[in-house]
């Protein structure tokens, strides 16, 4: 039998097409909306960086001050006490979730 593009087939394709477009378009639109906002905020950040009189962390006078008066030098004992930390192994919870059948 020769395949023919019947009225029924046309309507079916059209409906499926519209359904696909309307289902997909929402997340796609969202994605692009988010990215453009991110882009303009990123541009704003680099613009402000250019306007700053000082652009390197080691030139910051208050940083020089705090090392002179308080922290001595980077990675000093005092700096380790206040500014550094340790991390905790939290994998047990994830293992439990995976065992209960959740795909993460």
């Amino acid at each position: 039998m020769k395949s023919q593009f019947t009225r029924k087939k046309f309507i079916r394709t059209l409906t499926l097409g519209i359904a696909a477009v309307s289902f997909v378009s929402i997340p796609v639109q969202k994605l692009f909306a988010g990215l453009t906002n991110t882009k303009s905020r990123t541009d704003g950040v680099y613009e402000q960086d250019k306007k700053m009189p000082l652009r390197k962390s080691q030139d910051n006078p208050m940083i020089k001050q705090i090392y002179k008066d308080f922290l001595e030098h980077p990675n000093s004992h005092k700096a380790h006490e206040l500014l550094h930390t340790d991390y905790v192994d939290r994998s047990a919870g994830v293992k439990r979730l995976r065992q209960s059948g959740i795909r993460i």
Partner: protein
Amino acid sequence: MNIDRKKFLHIAGGAAAGLIGAQTLTSCKKDERVEHIYTSMDSPDITKYDKTFFVQVDQNKCKGCHTCTINCPTGIIDSKEPGGLHRVYSPDGCINCGQCLVNCPYGAIEEQVSFINDVFDAINDPETIVVALPAPAVRYAIGEPFGMQPGEFAGGKMNASLKALGFDIVWDTEFAADLTILEEGSELIARLTGKMDRPLPQFTSCCPGWIKYVESFHPEVIPNLSSCKSPVAMMGALSKTYGAQNKKIDPKKIYTVSIMPCIAKKYEGMRPEMNDSGFRDLDATINTRELAYMIKKKNINFYAMKDEAADPLLGQSTGAATIFGVTGGVMEAALRFAYEAVSGRKLASVDLTAVRGLGGVREASVKIPGGPEVKVCVVSGLKNAEPIIQDIKNGKSPYHFIEVMTCPGGCVNGGGQPIDPKDVFFT
């Protein structure tokens, strides 16, 4: 006493009316629209920081569109069957990044934790010295709820509004970003030269979502994480030690409020490790949306505010600190420091455009005179970090220093940033 039909109906009707009334009252008190996002006004129980849901899906508003799962780096937000109602299954696999929330087309995902009432209480208490610690990325988005363009710098207005809200001191987290660069950059140099017994590559540790992700999913690479706290955690510890000493304030009276473009920072602030000053380093954490909500609640005209600088001592910052808010920023700032620290020469051009951009994975190689050639990598969007972590586990990673930001684009696109109401179909 006999109860006839009429009396029975009287009592039953009264009880029903009372129940409905009580329910409406409690539900009104609990949830509040904070810049279009429904937020529970319950103060969190800090001791249960690991058992707290920071975001959850409202089952009455979910349409089963799957956008949250697509944006979730771990897949903990999902539905039992295709097209079904989605929810966050457990706090364990959730890294609290909030990308599901800012991307939900129906505004169905809600914040479960808010310190807003605690912060207002602290401000209203005359004894308490309330310190605001605003993050770099906040000032590029806080203007949006007040009609400013996305990306328009509003740092001065933000400082002025914080003062008008009743914050006693504004200390800038950007200062601690500069400090992070010196600490983390020196750590990297120590690792590169073999002075420190920690493996390469070194990962950045500023992003709280990334940290929880490593701790939960890849504890094997914990030694690769920089031991530096995030900038705001440094800031909390310094406020109650160095800051309090210099300002001659009793650190007991200081109440630190971290203001972040982020939901995961709420979790970070509640971590028990964050008490190095002898007190809770960070008493409260709010995000950009919540700050905008507070400013509107107090009827402060944000746009008309005159620009103000942050308070001295912990208030000055450089361009290297302000770019912490974008992907590649920490890397660029660290290279601006490491180049000069290792070579002893002045960096001719501070614009290291090789690490900029919005791509998911970007790599660059920097030759430092008198030092090694440093291979760096910048990851934006946590899903892109997976192959890089696998390479490290297999011992094949070519890099020395890797920056990872959970949110695509970095903190400027964080889970706590204002959303565009035009993008959401509210129901």
